[in-house]
Symmetry: C2
Subunit: 388 residues, 2 copies
């Protein structure tokens, strides 16, 4: 990458983040009556559903706290983050440490998942908000939550999901990947090397040569059926850069190499050569995935790929990584960016046509787009000097 290209990219990502993406959420998401945010926003920011999905609220708290702490101490970012955190603490957290998945606008509970992810995002929000606003007690509380999540992580009967006799024991990639992210974010100043090594080992179980499976047996063996053949390229790419960052901090060259290859292989395997874009789901043996949306192109795998390829390139100077970045950048900015109203569309069909006009929904909020833009912009701004 020439210096000219780097400077140009840096400016483009900065502009997109600060002029087109963050203002959308700052303007349209706050709930002036009950606090917290609306996350179900139509193309132009209109609230089309007042349900508050806690994955998204917690991630938005995390995002604005992060920006406040690391980019600029804007008061409006801090108060936005605190409004969300206060709403979450008052309404989403149950006395037993579980966190609701969805709340009504006024905070009354609507739905409780029998999974651990809402709790993970709550802990991320609490930790980052505590650091950003100088409330160490919040950081400590988040650490206790991570310890509790660690205890639940591989036995979901502890969060109410009965384990029935016919279900083959399995491990989902999402779990060690999420735990690693929690350790890196929440426990960064604690000594967690054995826990981090556990995540490394468990992620490795999913890697079978050039393919990474969403679910494997607890010993890493393949599972039968569609679940055992399921691949999610965006997920592998996201796990790849989580692992890359953690492996660098842990000085684990084997894991650095593994992470790099996970990203490169998922890009090669997951890219639709005919229409462009990363598939959402794939079956490793070429059967049709049972997920109806398997061939759709979603915004978030492309967000993850932007940063993952750029990070690979920054670390290796390998032109293939730059080419992968450019390919994803080109697809992403042609298909997902909405130059008229800001933020990005989330969902395209296989051919790249936008299928859903909303900017925020039950699984899309102020998170993947600003996180990827921020990470890329930060990396481009602190680009490693070359010896040439």
């Amino acid at each position: 990458m020439t210096e000219h290209e780097r400077v140009h990219l840096q400016a483009r990502y900065e502009h997109e983040l600060f002029e087109h993406v963050l203002p959308f959420w700052e303007m349209h998401s706050p709930d002036p009556v009950h606090g917290g945010y609306f996350n179900n926003l139509d193309r132009d920011g209109t609230v089309y559903d007042t349900t508050k999905h806690i994955w998204l609220l917690a991630r938005q708290v995390w995002m604005f706290s992060k920006l406040y702490r690391l980019v600029e101490q804007r008061k409006s970012w801090r108060s936005l983050a605190t409004s969300g955190m206060t709403f979450l603490r008052n309404h989403a957290l149950r006395p037993d440490g579980r966190v609701y998945f969805a709340l009504a606008r006024d905070g009354q509970p609507i739905y409780q998942q029998r999974k651990i992810f809402t709790e993970c995002f709550y802990a991320l929000a609490l930790s980052e908000h505590g650091r950003a606003t100088d409330h160490p007690a919040q950081v400590e509380e988040a650490k206790l939550m991570v310890e509790r999540i660690w205890d639940w992580a591989y036995d979901w009967s502890k969060v109410g999901r009965p384990a029935l006799a016919g279900t083959a024991p399995s491990q989902m990639l999402a779990v060690p990947m999420m735990l690693l992210n929690l350790l890196e974010e929440v426990m960064i100043d604690a000594n967690c090397s054995s826990e981090i090594n556990d995540c490394f080992k468990r992620i490795q179980l999913h890697v079978h040569g050039s393919r990474v499976f969403e679910s494997v047996a607890p010993d890493g063996n393949r599972l039968e059926g569609p679940d055992g053949r399921l691949m999610n390229p965006g997920h592998v790419i996201e796990a790849g850069w989580f692992l890359q960052q953690a492996a660098i901090r842990a000085e684990r060259s084997d894991m650095i190499e593994l992470a790099r290859n996970m990203i490169r292989n998922a890009q090669a395997f997951g890219w639709d050569e005919e229409h462009g874009g990363l598939y959402y789901f794939m079956d490793a043996e070429g059967f049709s995935p049972v997920q109806l949306e398997w061939s759709m192109k979603l915004w978030w795998p492309h967000c993850e790929a932007l940063y993952a390829h750029l990070l690979n390139y920054a670390l290796t100077s390998n032109p293939d990584d730059l080419a992968a970045f450019r390919k994803v950048d080109d697809y992403t900015f042609r298909h997902f960016v909405d130059t008229e109203y800001g933020e990005w569309f989330g969902y395209c069909d296989r051919e790249g046509r936008v299928t859903h006009r909303f900017k925020g929904g039950p699984y899309k909020g102020c998170f993947h787009v600003p996180r990827a833009l921020w990470l890329c912009w930060q990396l481009l701004s602190n680009w490693p000097a070359r010896d040439n």
Copy 2:
């Protein structure tokens, strides 16, 4: 419809049912080792997942029992039905009357839904199998199941789904529609006029002018948000012909009229004028539905529409109903039928391209296609004489 067209249609539906659809399931679905059926069959019948989904197993028992009782006493149909029913009785039914949603090949339980539909399909299977094979005790047992389901139907906390404070009380169209089907199928020789009237009233709550909503408040008022705006044209059309048949038996001209209009309006509202086919989900106010697959064209709404329009036409001689039938018939036979391996594809994208090559999956089995073909063939074979 000319006599020539009727004869031609009757032969085409008969041929499709008996030569292309039923043989696919007879050949590929039986599990010779553990009994019952595989329902996850690839395009050519290859088993790509041995998980047994009980909605599909129960519906296949129902279908072959029905054919044995009403079409032809083929021994192979009877033994196929009995093999499924035996597997269900041995493995799917819990001592407390709940029925598992999915079992492993050998019958060990995998998943239990916190809904009532698996129990409904089990009762349909048991009742029809009992009638077809002359086991009145099975029919009586099915009736007791229907009474239990009736008790659970509008309070899912009784099947393990906690009702949380922020959830607006609501009623789903699926429930009274399914109950009406159970009453018509299982309780046909009992006096259930008050229960049938209850279903009529509850279905009516979902009808707001020309639109029918999937979910409404218990008093029939509109609900806020995407759930309250959600429309599923195929579902309305299916509910329409259930209601049409029940209303005719109950001699309720108001409900006959209502059913007819539900079908006609859902066809008008749900048809994609640009690419053809019925949308899967729609938002009544024109927002993007949050379901990722909303614009896909699924086989089953088209199956339901074939019979619903043909029934309307048989009852009214209205040329608009014939035109609707022809439109759906043309789309269906051009997009879903697989002339090479039998059975139909289940899933097309908005433009009508097949997106999933399998014939059976977690929600597609030996049910909608043969039921629609059988109902249409039966109707065409007993076409009402006209006075002209």
